[in-house]
Amino acid sequence: MKRVLSSITDGRGFDIALVALPLAFLLLLSGLPLLYNVLMSFQEVDMFSLGTLWRPFVGFENYRKLFEQPETLPILGNTAIFVTASIAGQFLIGFGLALFFWTNFPGASWLRGLFLVSWVMPGLVVGAIWNWILSGDFGVLNFLLRESGLISGNIFWRSDPNYSLWAVVIANVWLGTSFNMILLSVGLSAIPGDLYEAAELDGANAWQRFWTITLPMMRSSIGALIALGLIFTLQQFDLFAAITSGGPNNSSNVTQYWAWDMSFRQYDFAKGATISVIMIVFVMLASIVYVRSTRHEVRG
């Protein structure tokens, strides 16, 4: 007994306890709901069987039915557009800003910190702000586009099916850019300065130094960031709820919003779970890329 006790306060028992606590926490609060969700996607669920665990098993029936619905493919397509456009926008603008602040002009670090304000804001607040900006009749964005001569009539960003998805993309790019910028700034500052000096003496101009030193040295940071971006954009729910609610007519609907809508507005819990399971597969793939790219860091 004494040995067990002393092993817990000082030894292997302590190590195991340290690992077991967060593991139990994860299993209970993330693992079990996840497994329950997967289980539900193979069952027939209705309002009356909601409280039980063992419900009629239907195999891939939910998946088959889901793909028979006419809105499924457009929504998957919307999700792909939303994810790609958001990541591209966040990454490119974020990288541009990171490079800009990297020049270290007076006040650069202070201003860079200020950029994080957009990232710490709750999605619903960001959505509310963008609702005003995107507003069709009196929105600032329309005003700017009109005054600069880019458009002749107002664009109804939130209610025009051609623009509704892009309205959320714009807000999401704004929300995620600063996070991209911070992570890329960290990656940039980890590149030793003497590499640039060596490259400069080797005859490389600024453009060549960017392509041959900066980009290859940032490979792991970029890989990790794109994978994280995929995970974060697939988690983006608040903006849809605040700006378009997936409408009009599903033109801005994406899987993460649709899963919630299916479960808690249409009470089709099985299909909601099925959509979530499809998303889990994509997020898992992104996680693998993320873990691998952080493991393969190139450091001299």
Partner: protein
């Protein structure tokens, strides 16, 4: 012949800090010049302004006759070996070597051939496919040098390239760098804080302190006739002994104070009563019987390495003496010291400049 590198009246300021003070330095083509001095003396700043990594505030810098003040580093045609080596970690050894060639658009096959040729001379042939992280310190050092050699630059700049190596390898690489320099007929500028490196490798040594060139010349000239107390103390190992002294009545000897006043002959004239500093190198003092010689001192420490014996005296200030081979002196003994008058260096006590 125009010098390969020429600094004239060069000053460098960092804000109010005056890092290089009116530097005049001319480096002959094919020479090996060492910039040496304690840390913060400006030697690295001087090298970096030669490379173009720092701009100079005033004065002129010429490389091969052309003014380089405003020319960016990539157009100066100089190669640098960094203290950290600064190898590109994401490139193989071959890619590291050929980087400058590829930047210039040299065809792949030609670059490859150049890399193989250089690697053969520096013993890297079997490592061309490796990444820097897979190499030892000495191998990385060779890659850094090969990367410089492959370009046939107007000058090679070395920024303390050996300070990250262990002592044995350092001595070996010293010879290797010098041999390489001779074989290539290159012009090299070498920064180090280690005066032994400077003395053994260079044919022109520049001693710097606080942004000022204190003295420059051939290594043994600096050893034989240091212009001031700083250079005298910096060049030579173990360092020169300095004793407070006063010119004596006859003008041809000094009264030195090592606890008790003792008169020693010198080869220069010093006015009677003038306060000076007498400097004498440990290797120029010989131990004689206690009742003979110029001074009589007690021994406090004796250290023997077999080939050399280092004796420290119990005087104030203490004296260091180096004897070749073994010694039968031991701590506590009374010994006599003798030295030739011409091996005593005399410096003014106030300005610390050389007298005579």
């Amino acid at each position: 012949m125009t010098p390969q590198i020429e600094f004239s009246g060069v000053n460098k300021y960092y804000g109010a800090y005056h890092a290089l003070k009116n530097v005049e330095l001319s480096i002959k083509k094919g020479s090996f010049t060492a910039l040496v001095g304690p840390s913060g003396c400006g030697k690295s700043t001087l090298l970096r302004s030669l490379a173009g990594l720092e701009s100079i505030s005033s004065g002129t810098l010429k490389i091969a006759g052309d003014v380089m003040n405003k020319v960016p580093p990539r157009k100066r045609d100089v190669a640098m070996v960094f203290q950290s080596y600064a190898l590109y970690p994401h490139m193989t050894v071959e890619e590291n070597l050929t980087y400058s060639l590829r930047i210039r658009g040299t065809p792949k096959a030609e670059a490859r051939k150049a890399a193989e040729e250089v690697a053969a001379t520096t013993g890297l042939s079997h490592l061309l496919g490796r990444y820097p992280r897979e190499l030892s310190g000495g191998q990385r050092q060779r890659v850094a040098m090969s990367r410089a050699i492959i370009r046939h630059p107007k000058a090679f700049l070395f920024d303390e390239p050996l300070s990250n190596l262990d002592a044995a390898l350092r001595v070996h690489m010293r010879k290797e760098i010098r041999a390489l320099h001779d074989r290539l007929g290159a012009t090299s500028v070498y920064v180090t804080h280690d005066q032994i490196e400077a003395m053994t490798m260079a044919d022109h040594v520049v001693v710097m302190r606080a942004g000022v060139i204190e003295q420059q010349g051939r290594p043994l000239d600096l050893y034989d006739r240091p212009v001031n107390k700083f250079v005298a103390g910096f060049i030579g190992s173990p360092a020169m002994n300095f004793l407070p002294a006063v010119g004596s009545e006859d003008g041809r000897s000094l009264v030195v104070d090592v606890g008790a006043p003792q008169t020693v002959p010198i080869s220069t004239n010093v006015e009677p009563g003038r306060k000076v500093i007498a400097g004498i190198r440990p290797e120029h003092i010989s131990v004689v019987a206690a009742d003979s010689g110029l001074m009589r001192v007690a021994v406090s420490v004796v250290e023997s390495t077999g080939s050399m014996s280092y004796i420290t005296t119990a005087t104030r200030p203490e004296l260091a003496i180096v004897e070749t081979g073994r010694t039968d002196v031991s701590a506590g003994d009374l010994i006599g010291l003798s030295f030739a008058p011409q091996s005593v260096h005399v410096f003014d006590a106030g300005t610390e400049e050389r007298i005579g």
